[in-house]
Amino acid sequence: MNTHESIRKLLPLAAAGALSQQEQLQVEAHARVCEICRRELDEWSVYASGLRGLPQPSTPETLIARTQARILREREAAAVRWNAFTLCGLAVFSWVASIGFWMLVRELSGGHVEVLGTNLVSAGPWFLVSFAVASITAAATALLVGNRSDAGRVL
């Protein structure tokens, strides 16, 4: 692209006063020697001054705050949807993993592990014990983590 073409693209911005000082001087210097660009710059200047003369719309005082609040609400709603989707997937995975682990233990143990007169790897006792252990551990963890104060945490 030659100088004429590159300067010509800047003419609307030059007329609107949106260029840097150096670019503005370049455009003006070129317009002095180029008849076509000078005429085009004059036309753009008429448009720019006409636009500046129009009444400027005033934005409501709380528009920015309301827009920010709306963005925040939408972002929170998206996060809630994502979390619900994740937790549903994890619940399914939890069931699949627990059944898979039970089948693995049953296969490896030959289907019989006697504890206190009960076959631990038969379905009933296995799921009763595993979910009791999981629930107790999870509850203890939730209590410990939930009670931990954030004030003393080092980042």
Binding site: W95, S98, G100, A134
Partner: protein, 163 residues
């Protein structure tokens, strides 16, 4: 880019490699187990093939996803200023993947960064603990955090200037 692929990037590279290795090795281990341990040599027809295929694929999926989830917890806990090792151990050792669910319920919000000095700060912090810069808009009365759109402070009731 979708949210899912963004979240996948959080998983550390070693966990991704471990998941790929598990995806390759677990079906093979299941196959070896079915052929050499479970099958009665006198009944070796072709009936074992669908059983071995389903068992191998299921085991591969469960183990690989488990490794990826534990990896995700390590990466995610690190960026939230939580304890990655503690949560990884809980995710591994609490039975039935309940530790993983627990992490997703109890995890802290993402850290924010001070615009002045770049130090990490918890989402609930109003000011930077390193340079004192305000991290969010504050109430002129009680200096508590206020959210966009509030016309009054939720703590002290002071009237807030419009943005």
């Amino acid at each position: 880019m979708s949210r899912f692929s963004e979240e996948m990037k959080i998983i550390p590279r070693p966990a991704q490699i471990a998941a790929i290795l598990a995806a390759l090795l677990v079906p093979f281990a299941v196959l070896v187990f079915v052929i050499f341990v479970r099958l009665n040599p006198s009944h070796r027809g072709l009936g074992w093939i669908p059983f071995a295929a389903i068992a191998g694929l299921s085991a591969m999926l469960v183990v690989s996803v488990y490794i990826l989830l534990v990896g995700y917890i390590v990466g995610d806990a690190r960026r939230r200023g939580m304890r990655p090792l503690l949560w990884a151990l809980l995710a591994i050792f609490i039975p039935n993947a309940i530790g993983i669910i627990l992490y997703f319920i109890l995890r802290d919000p993402l850290l924010q960064h001070c615009t002045k000095c770049g130090a990490a700060a918890q989402a609930s912090f109003t000011f930077c603990a390193v340079c004192g810069e305000a991290l969010s808009k504050t109430c002129p009365g009680c200096r508590g955090t206020v959210q966009p759109g509030w016309s009054h402070c939720a703590r002290c009731g002071a009237s807030l200037p419009a943005a």
